[in-house]
Symmetry: D2
Subunit: 404 residues, 4 copies
C-alpha cells in the first residue's frame, strides 16, 4: 500500500471539486480518508479539505496523484519542481508535467511562481529570468528546462460561475429546451461586461453562420466593435465573401434562398479571384469585396486567423495551410480575450478551446447537441452550451448589441 495526503481549496463543494476528487480516487480503484475539512460558512467563503489517498502500489498512486492535480487536489508536502533539460527539439523529457488550463504555480528555488499563460496539454518551461511558461510540444527546444513529474506544482481547482443564471447546472446543461431569448440576453450582458472592463471578445465562426443567413448580423457586430478577434476556416471566409460578391455581381439573389442550388462553383471563383488579388485585404482595397464579415475585419483592423483544414478548396491566400502555424497565430491573439463565442464551429471551436485559459467565459452555440458535448469532453469544461439555431441567435445578438 502506498499513501499520500492531498488538499483542495476554493469552492470545493459547490464547484464540485471535492466530489470530483473523491470520484477520481474511487474510479482508479484507490481509496481515501478525509483528514479534515473546513466548509466556508457563506457562499463567498472558500473551503478546504485534506484527504489521505491510499492505493495498492506506488505506480498507481503516482498516476492517480497526477490525475488529481488536474482537478485541483495538490500534495500537501511539496519540494521544488524537478527540471529536466530537453535533449531534442519538439520533444519533452520523459515524465514531463502535462498542463491543464487552470491557474498553476510551480515551486522553483523554494518559491511558488505563477505560470504566465495557462494552456492545456502543454509542458511547463522555467525560463532563465525565473518566469514559468506553458509551451506546446512542437515549440520546445534543446536545453529548455521542463518540469517533470508532479512535485512542486500546484493547480487551483476550477470554479464555476457564481450567481443565478439561465444556464442550468449539473443536469443536461446543453438541452435545447431553454428560453432562448434569455440566453441571448445573458450572452449580451456578459459581452458588455467584458468590454467594459477592457476585455476582448473572440468570435470563432463556422460556415453555418453564413448559410443560415446571419452573415450581415455577424458583420454588424464586427463593424460596431463588439468582436475584437476572429478565428475561422477557409469555408467561413469563402462563403462570407461569396455571399457578398456573388450576391451583387451575378444577379442571383442571396436573399431568395435559392442560390445554393445555382452556382455550385461560385465559391471556387471567389477563392480564385482573391488569390489573384493576393489577400483578402488586397481584394477589399481593390473594391472586389465590399461588405461582409471579412470586409469589416479588414476595415476595422480586427485581427483574424483563418486556419487551414484538409477539406479546403483553394484555399484563400490568407489561410494558414500549416495547422501548427495556425494554432501559433491563434495563441498570439488570445491574451486579453475574456469572452469567446463559438458560433456553429466544431473544428475551430475545439482548436480554440484547447488554447483558452479556464477563466475565459466561453459560449458554444450550435444546433447540434453533440457538438457542444464534444467541446466539453475535450476538456473545455468552462464552455456553456447553447443548443439553438446559430442564424437566429446571431441575429438576436446583433439586435441587442447593435440595434435593429
Amino acid at each position: 500500500m502506498a499513501g499520500e495526503v492531498v488538499e483542495v481549496e476554493g469552492h470545493i463543494i459547490d464547484s464540485l471539486i471535492l466530489a470530483k476528487v473523491m470520484d477520481v480516487i474511487l474510479a482508479a480503484g484507490a481509496d481515501y480518508k478525509v483528514l479534515d475539512v473546513e466548509i466556508g460558512r457563506t457562499n463567498t467563503d472558500a473551503s478546504r479539505a485534506r484527504l489521505e489517498v491510499t492505493a495498492d502500489d506506488e505506480a498507481l498512486l503516482d498516476a492517480l496523484l497526477v490525475e488529481l492535480q488536474a482537478h485541483g487536489a495538490n500534495r500537501v508536502n511539496q519540494a521544488d519542481a524537478e527540471l529536466v533539460a530537453c535533449d531534442r527539439d519538439g520533444v519533452f523529457p520523459a515524465g514531463f508535467h502535462a498542463t491543464t488550463n487552470l491557474p498553476t504555480r510551480v515551486r522553483v528555488d523554494s518559491r511558488w511562481i505563477d505560470v504566465d499563460n495557462p494552456e492545456m496539454d502543454c509542458g511547463l518551461v522555467v525560463l532563465d529570468d525565473g518566469r514559468v511558461r506553458t509551451v506546446p510540444m512542437h515549440r520546445v527546444r534543446v536545453g529548455d528546462r521542463v518540469v517533470v513529474g508532479h512535485e512542486g506544482v500546484r493547480v487551483r481547482g476550477p470554479e464555476r460561475p457564481r450567481g443565478a443564471n439561465p444556464f442550468e447546472f449539473m443536469n443536461s446543461e446543453v438541452s435545447s429546451e431553454k428560453p432562448k431569448a434569455l440566453l441571448v440576453a445573458d450572452v449580451v450582458e456578459r459581452v458588455r461586461r467584458a468590454k467594459e472592463r477592457g476585455g476582448k471578445v473572440l468570435a470563432v465562426c463556422g460556415p453555418a453562420v453564413i448559410h443560415t443567413g446571419a452573415g450581415p448580423d455577424d458583420a454588424a457586430l464586427v463593424r460596431h466593435g463588439w468582436i475584437d478577434v476572429l478565428f475561422a476556416g477557409n469555408g467561413f471566409a469563402t462563403h462570407d465573401v461569396e455571399s457578398n460578391v456573388m450576391g451583387t455581381s451575378l444577379g442571383v439573389s442571396v436573399e431568395a434562398g435559392t442560390s445554393s442550388e445555382g452556382g455550385h462553383a461560385n465559391h471556387l471563383r471567389v477563392i480564385n479571384e482573391v488569390r489573384r488579388y493576393g489577400s483578402i485585404s488586397a481584394a477589399v482595397e481593390a473594391g472586389y469585396i465590399d461588405g461582409g464579415v471579412m470586409f469589416e475585419c479588414v476595415k476595422r483592423g480586427v485581427p483574424f486567423v483563418l486556419g487551414g483544414s484538409v477539406r479546403d478548396d483553394g484555399p484563400l491566400p490568407d489561410v494558414y495551410p500549416d495547422v501548427v502555424q495556425a494554432a501559433d497565430a491563434m495563441r498570439y491573439l488570445l491574451p486579453g480575450v475574456q469572452v469567446a463565442l463559438m458560433l456553429a464551429s466544431t473544428l475551430h471551436a475545439i482548436a480554440t478551446g484547447n488554447l483558452l485559459r479556464a477563466d475565459v467565459e466561453t459560449f458554444c452555440v450550435d444546433i447540434n447537441q453533440a457538438v457542444v458535448t464534444k467541446l466539453s469532453d475535450r476538456g473545455s469544461h468552462q464552455a456553456l452550451g447553447i443548443v439553438t439555431d446559430v442564424g437566429l441567435f446571431v441575429q438576436g445578438l446583433r439586435e441587442q448589441l447593435v440595434g435593429p
Copy 2:
C-alpha cells in the same frame, strides 16, 4: 409470369412519381417495360406514361399493384370496386383496400366517385347515398360496405410544390444549414395566402414552444387570428398555463430563466387548480388564467384538442384520456385546414400527419433533424422540414405576422 399494365399521370417527372414507380417495381424483384410515355412540353403541362409490369407470380404482382397504387400508378383496365360488408364492428373485411392521403376515386356502378376525405391508413366505405368516405378501422360497423382489393380504385400521384422556394429538393431536405430568416418569411407568406383564400391554419404545439420562451409569441398569433385550430397535449397546455399563472402569482419570474430550477411541483398545482375549476375555459372565466395560448384560444373561440398521453400528470380536465376519441376530435376539426404548423411536437405532429390530406401544406419545425425525418418516414411526404430553434422561429413568425 404474371403481367399487368399500369398508368401514371400528372407531373410524373418532376414530382418523381415515375421514378418512384420504377423503383418500387425493381425493389420488389419485378420488372417493367415502358409502353408509351408523353411528356408535357412545358412545366405546367401534365405528363402520362403506361408501363407493363411483370412479376414471377400472381401473388407478388398483386402485392406490387397495391403498392404501386399508393404512388399513383393505377391499373389501366379497371372494373367496379369489389365491396364486402363488414361482419364485425371495428374490423375490416380481409383484403380491405388501405388508403393513402392522396386524392382517390372509386368506381361504383361504372362511375368514378371522388373520395370525400382522403386520410391514410383507413378503409373506403361506400355509403348508401353513393358517396365514398375513408373510415378509420375502429369506426367501421357491421354492414358497412368496404372496398376490398385494388380493383376499381384510382389514386392521383403526389405533386410537390411548384416554383422556386427556399426548401431544397431531393438531397437533404432537412439540413439545419439554411437561411432561417428566409424560411420564416416563406412560411409567413404561405400562411397569409392560405388565410386570403379562406383556408384555416392549424398549429400543433409541443411543450418546447413554452420552454424556449415562445409562449407569448404563440399567444399573439392566436389573438390576432393567425391560428384557427390548435392541437397539443397535456404538457403544452399545462406549461402554458403554468408560465402565466405562476409567473405572476408566486413572484418567481419566468423571465429570469431560473424558474425551471424552482417550482418542480408548479405544473402539478396548476393542473390541480384547473381540475378544481372543471375546465380551462372555466378557469379563464374565473380569472385564474389571464394570459397565454390557451387563454387566447378560449377568448377567441379557437377550437383545440388536447390529446392525452401515457406520460401525462393529472391530466388537465380538457385532455382526452382516450386517444381514439382524441384522434376523432382532431378529425372533426380538420376540414378547411390548408396549412399545418408542427411546432416542436413529435407525438402530436405524427398523429396529425396521419390525419392530414396530402395537399395540406405542412411545416415541421424542430431543432432535432431526426424528428423531421420521422414525420416524413411515417408517410407525411408533403411535410417540409425546418431544422431550427422553435423558440426563435415562432418569435419570427409573430414579428412578421403580428408586428413587434
Copy 3:
C-alpha cells in the same frame, strides 16, 4: 428576512447533494450559512450538514424549502404533517405536498412513517391503518387525508451508483463516444445481479427495436426469462407481429431489408386480423402469431402493458386507449422491478420514468442524445444514458445473456 435551518445527510459530497442544495438556494436569490458539517472519513461513511437558509420574505423561503426538500434537505425542526381531507374526487387540497421519487417519510402522531411506494408528482395520502401512500391526482377521492405543506415530511437525497463504472460522471454523461461493448457488458452484469437477488427486469420498447432488426434478439431475451415485464405502445407490438406474420405469409422477406418499401398497409392488415381474433393472446393461440416478442410474452406469461397514443392506427385490441388507465396498469406491474431498460422509446420511457422509484437502475438506450437528455430533464435523474444503435445493442445483450 426569514430564516430556517435545514439538514442533509447521506453521501452529500460525492452524490452532489450538498452542492445542489447550495445551488438551489443561491439560484432562488436566497442565501445560506453553514452551521456545521461532518464529512464521513471513508467513502462508505455518511456525511451530514446543517445550513441556515435566509430569504427576503416568508413566501420565498417557503417556496424554497419545498424545493430544497425535493433534493433531500429537510427542515431540522418538524412537527406532524398537516393533513387536509379532499373535498373533490381527483383534486388535491390546495398546497398539497408534491412528491419526488426518493425515499420519503411522513410524521403522523409524532411518529415517522415510511411512504410505501415513492413516485414523483403525486400526493401523499395517510390511510386509516396508518400507512402512507403516494396517490396520483386522478385517483384521490373525497375524504382522503392528504399531506399539505412541507411540515412533517423528510426526503432522503439521491445517491448515485458507487464504485468504478464505465458511465461517466458529471460531464457529458450521454456522449456517444464510449466503449460500447463495455456498456453492454455492464448492463448485462446489472441485469444478472438483479435477477440473482430476485428482482424483476422491465423492458420498455419502442418500434425502432423492430425496425433495426433486433426483434428476434428481444424475443430471445423474453423467452429465456431475462425480461419480466414489458411496456410498449401499439407501434412496437404491431411491427413485432407484422415482422413475424408477414415475413412468412406473404413471401416478402423481412431479412432483405426491402420490405419497408412494399407493404405500406401490412401493419394495418395485422392490426385488423388481431382485432378479429380479439386479442394478441387469442391470435397466438389460434396460431396466427407464431413468433416474436409479443408471442414470447404470451407463451411465457410475461405481463405487458400496451399504452395507447393519439398516433395509433387501429389500435390492437390489447392496447389501452385510455392513457390514464394505461398508466395505472403500468403502476400495478412495477413492484419488484429493479432494472429498467428503456430501448429506443421516448414516450413510454418518459411515462415509465414518471412512475419509477429513484432506486430502480434505469438505462436509457437511444441513438439520439436528445432523448436521453429529455428523460433526465423530466426528473428521472437515476437514468444512465447510452447513446448507441438499439439494434446492435439489443443484439449484444442477447449474445451475452442468451448465447449466440
Copy 4:
C-alpha cells in the same frame, strides 16, 4: 429572351436526372420546353431527352447552363472547348470551368477526350500530349491551358446504384431506423465484390472508432487485408497508439472503460514518445508500438495519410501539418479505390469526399445524422449514410469479414 437546347441521357428517369434538371431550370426562374424524349423500354435501356431552355437574358442563361451541366444536361451544339493559359501560379483564368466528380469529356480539336481523373471543384487542364486532367487550384502553373466556360464540355449525369438494396430511396435516406445487421451485411458484400474485382478499399477513420472500443476490430480488418488505404487525423492515430501502449504499460486497463477518467495526459506522452522515435514506423520497429490499427498498417505496408488539423496536440511526426500537402498525399493514394468507408469521421470524410470520383461506392457511418447529411450536402451524392454506432458497426464488419 435567350434560349439554348440541352440534352440528357442515361437513366434520366430513375436516377432522377431529368427531374433534377427541370427543377434547376425552374428554380433559376427560367423555363423549359420538352422537345423530344425517348424513354428506354426496360430498366437497363438508357433514355434521352432534349429540352429547350429559355431565360430572361444571356447572363442568366449562361449561369444556368453551367449549373445544368453539373447535373448532366449538356448543350446539344458544341464547339471546341475554349482554352486559356494561366498567367499566375495557383490561379485559374477567369471563367474557368469548375468540375464535378462525374465522368467528363472535353472537346479539343473536334475530338471528345475523356478526363483522366474526375474530381470536384477543380479546373480542367489540357496537357501537351492531348490528355485532359483535373487540377486543383493550388497546383495550376503559369502556362497551363485551362478550359474556360461551358463550351466543349460534356458531363455524364449521376447514376444511382441499381437493384434492390436495403438503402432507402428518396425519402430520408439516413434514418436511424433501419435493420442494422442487414446494412452491415450489405457493406460486407460490397467490400468483398470490390476486392474480387481488384479494387481497393479505403477506410477514413475518426477517433470515435477507438473511443467506442472498435480499435481491435479495425486493426483486424487491416491485418487480414480488407483495408488497402487509410486516411485519418492526428487524433485517431494518437488514440489508437495510446490504447495499445498505455493499456499494457501503465496498468490502467483500457478494458475497464474507466481509463478516460485517468490519464488525461496519456495521449500527450504517446505523441511525445513517437516524436522521439521520429515516426510511427520507427516506433513500431523499436517495439514501442506493438498492436493496433497503425501498427497493422506499418506491418502490412498499408499506406496511410494522417492529415493535420488546427486542433491537434503534438502532432505525431507522421502527420502532415500542411493541409494542402495532406490533400495531395490523399489524391496520390486514391487511384484504384472502389469502396470508401467513412467511419465516424467528419473532417476527413468530407475531405475525402471532395477527392473521390462519383463512382466510388461510399458509405458514411456515423451516429449523428447531421454528419451524414453534411457529407451529401457537400456534393458527395453517391455517399450512402448509415446512422449507427460505429463501435458496434465495425465490430460487425470484423465478425463477418475476419471471423469471431
